[in-house]
């Protein structure tokens, strides 16, 4: 199973350091995808040494949408590396499962991560920090940074090492028992379910239109919510999906979206 390309602890430590700028190039469309690629790129290069075609595919594949609490993102990175490694050693590996696993992990991990890092740790740090800083005490900002960052860095390091170990152990077991195809199906089920949930949560579009005129005209949005909340985000995602299937250029879609937004704001159709 193991070949000379196997990932070592040193590579994982490198991934830890390279996970630091995770949010540095964040944008609305694919969010942390370049940060993710930046994190695992050296590992990918090592894994696919002598397999340039597979390496190209892996680079493209890992530039898909990614968003996660940055401090625990290396966990997903480790599991991804474990799967990529398996793909390098086998001809019939279903690469779609890599993105499915990523999609299945990023949502729940962000939910947990955001509540730990931003909901708990940051609030604690702000509480202690500001209570001192309000009096002009320089210890305030210093404690603020320490309270947040010591646990944050420990967590990030543990995630960097454990994600890969977990990936390798479980993947091998699944492989040996011949359950790989079922595992792939399970991963894609979970992946699309989570994306379904995120579509409703993160794509936001509402309309201020009213039905008919007059003071008490019913809001169209209320009517829509009565039928199906989140109908508009679902339609928007569906329309994007349709255009992407038709091979419409992504840049064009983004520019059209910006113009569409301004037009809708002008006429008060959305907002």
């Amino acid at each position: 199973m193991k070949t000379s390309n196997s990932i070592t602890k040193k590579d994982l430590r490198k991934m830890f350091w390279r996970s630091l700028p995770m949010e540095f190039s964040w944008h609305y469309e694919r969010q942390m995808h370049m940060g993710f690629e930046f994190m695992i790129e050296p590992a990918l290069r090592k894994i696919y040494e002598g397999q340039p075609e597979k390496y190209k595919d892996a680079l493209t594949r890992n530039l898909e949408f990614f968003n996660c609490t940055p401090h625990i993102a290396p966990f997903v990175g480790g599991i991804t590396i474990a799967m990529e490694e398996m793909n390098a050693q086998q001809e019939d590996f279903d690469t779609a499962s890599i993105n499915a696993v990523k999609a299945a992990l990023m949502g729940p991990l962000s939910g947990i991560g955001d509540s730990i890092m931003l909901g708990t740790l940051r609030v604690l740090a702000v509480g202690v920090g500001t209570s001192l800083a309000v009096q002009g005490n320089i210890l305030g900002p210093i404690l603020f940074l320490l309270i947040f960052n010591i646990p944050a860095f420990i967590l990030r390091y543990v995630c960097s090492i454990k994600g890969y170990e977990l990936g390798v152990n479980y993947l091998e077991k699944i492989q040996q028992s011949g359950l790989m195809s079922k595992f792939m199906l399970a991963a894609s089920m979970l992946g699309v379910m989570v994306i379904g949930g995120m579509t409703n949560e993160l794509v936001s579009v509402t309309t201020p239109l009213t039905i008919g005129g007059g003071e008490n005209a019913p809001l169209l949005q209320d009517v829509i919510n009565g039928i199906m909340p989140g109908l508009l985000p679902l339609c928007a995602t569906g329309i994007y999906y349709y255009f992407l299937k038709k091979k419409v250029n992504v840049i064009l879609l983004i520019v059209i979206t910006a113009i569409f937004g301004i037009v809708c704001a002008q006429f008060g159709i959305l907002g």
Binding site: W26, K56, L59, A103, N149
Partner: protein
């Protein structure tokens, strides 16, 4: 000179995102540094704390981009110290500036960076991973530079002019971009779906969506439901002996 140093503070503040999202961009940290530059450290600390509490909700969760606390925090603190008005006016200055900087952020996040990403796609397709890494870092540093320039100009112009500029941007443009930023994650999800969607799992997409839309179940809950559903619908059996062990392993 002071304007240049403040620009540098904003630059370093934005580098927060290059050094592991460790909160150096927050007003409580940048405030004291601004205070040090303008010769009143203690006031900087106090104003930093005030702004920190005021901007408590301005933190990026999920795909939400808050008002820009870096430019808002640095200039708000600076104007409050320079005018000698103290913490009380810091927020009234900082908030509109943070909103203005947010509008610029939104242009970068919704137009400039996706274009950089497209460039990264091209290099990835050619197998040039190092170029992708360079683009990633450049994309970040360009934003740092933009924020530094805004801070520099903002401080040089002074507080009165800043307010006038903030008010001069047509509302239609800012509102329109806000609408667009709500829609754009849809493109990301659609791309992701294209890669992993197959006929067998179409219902699962809608199940996930409906659980969220009608029942308001958060993503963590949906994932847990998904895991249960997987065990209900897929039989992880090959030979009887291994069932238990593998089944447990499934839910990482």
């Amino acid at each position: 000179m002071e304007a240049l140093l403040l620009a540098l503070v904003a630059f370093i503040g934005k580098c927060d995102l290059a050094t592991g999202t460790n909160m150096i961009q927050r007003p409580i940290v940048l405030g004291p540094i601004v205070g040090l530059i303008l010769g009143d450290l203690e006031m900087g600390i106090t104003i930093g704390a005030t702004l920190e509490l005021a901007f408590l909700g301005s933190v990026s969760v999920g795909a939400f981009i808050p008002p820009n606390v870096i430019v808002g925090g640095v200039l708000g603190t600076a104007f409050a110290i320079v005018t000698g008005k103290g913490p009380e006016v810091a927020f009234t200055m900082a908030f509109p500036i943070a909103l203005l900087a947010l509008a610029i952020d939104n242009v970068i996040f919704s137009l400039v960076r996706p274009l950089m990403a497209k460039l990264a796609d091209n290099y990835a397709a050619k197998g040039n991973g190092k170029a992708v890494s360079v683009i990633h870092m450049c994309t970040g540093f360009i934003t740092c530079t933009v924020l530094a320039i805004i801070t520099f100009l903002g401080f040089s112009l002074g507080s009165a002019q800043m307010e006038a500029i903030v008010n001069a941007i047509p509302e239609v443009i800012t509102n329109g971009l806000t609408i667009a930023t709500g829609l754009l994650p849809g493109i990301g999800f659609a791309m992701l779906l294209q890669m992993i969607m197959n006929k067998k799992v179409i219902p699962h997409f809608f199940l996930g969506f409906l659980l969220s839309a009608y029942l308001g179940i958060p993503v963590v809950g949906i994932a847990l439901f998904g895991i249960v559903l997987i065990f209900l619908s897929i039989k992880f059996t090959k030979d009887e002996t291994q069932v238990q062990e593998v089944a447990v392993d499934e839910d990482f």
